[in-house]
Amino acid sequence: MTETPQWLDDAAGPVVRPYALIQGRTRSSGDAFDLVATVTVVREPSGEAAGELGPEQRLILRAARSPISVADVAVELDLPIGVVRVLLGDLRDNGLISVTSPSAARQRSNEGILKEVINGLRAL
């Protein structure tokens, strides 16, 4: 058995180092967060819990004081979406934020909303 990852040649592109911010994890409870799901702070961290938060998580909590999309969080923090999902998953597991996914069925099935969007686009 060879340990050499020979398949990682130049053609494969640059290899991103393990995500140090999230202890190298690429999976979390936040995997399924939709890019346009809404992130909202539900509770400010207190005492000891606050001290354990990393700077990125603090930034997320600050950004999400008013509701913000998952994609917007990634843009605000200038981090890849996968990293942001892990961070969000941790914050949610700790009860600090809520992440509400848009209902796909409702989006497509609401004539009133679509008409409003059409009028809104025309008015831009």
Partner: protein, 190 residues
Amino acid sequence: MDSGLSDDPVALKILVAGGFGVGKTTLVGAISEIKPLRTEEVLSERGIGVDDIDGVEAKTTTTVAMDFGRITIRDGLVVYLFGTPGQERFWFMWDELSYGALGAVVIADTRRLTDCFPSVDYFEQRGTPFVVAVNCFDGAERHSVDDVRIALDLDPDVPVLLCDVRRRSSAKEVMVTLVEHSLRTLTAAG
């Protein structure tokens, strides 16, 4: 305004697809505040060859940027635009983006029409409502909308329109055409 809805914010997704350099970034930028969204490209079996990754458990990623724009229709109603790379190896992102998407704009360049075939195929298969926007590049040989429709073998109900993605008014027309098409699709589905 009582529309029978709760006050939950509504977030709609529109995808902007097409071949490399066809004007996706320009279109998103013409109509919304555009920002780069970083995502990861998973080096999948398709990307690196099935035989080579036998026994390799960890996926390896590289970072790619996606165009991301936001149009606020009103407080609590926002349309997000995602400009997605058109190549097959980015389809893992499309699967996520097209879930629950309102629809998609496929930008076509008549000089390289084949570049948009994968996008058209993809949205047809997924049942995502889409329009084809033919970007009229300076000096590009003009083709009629009907020629493009035939060349792409589109269903008769799929809108095809000429556009100049640099112009805001043209970008608006493309988006309005798409949402109107989505609305018709919805109504037809009953």
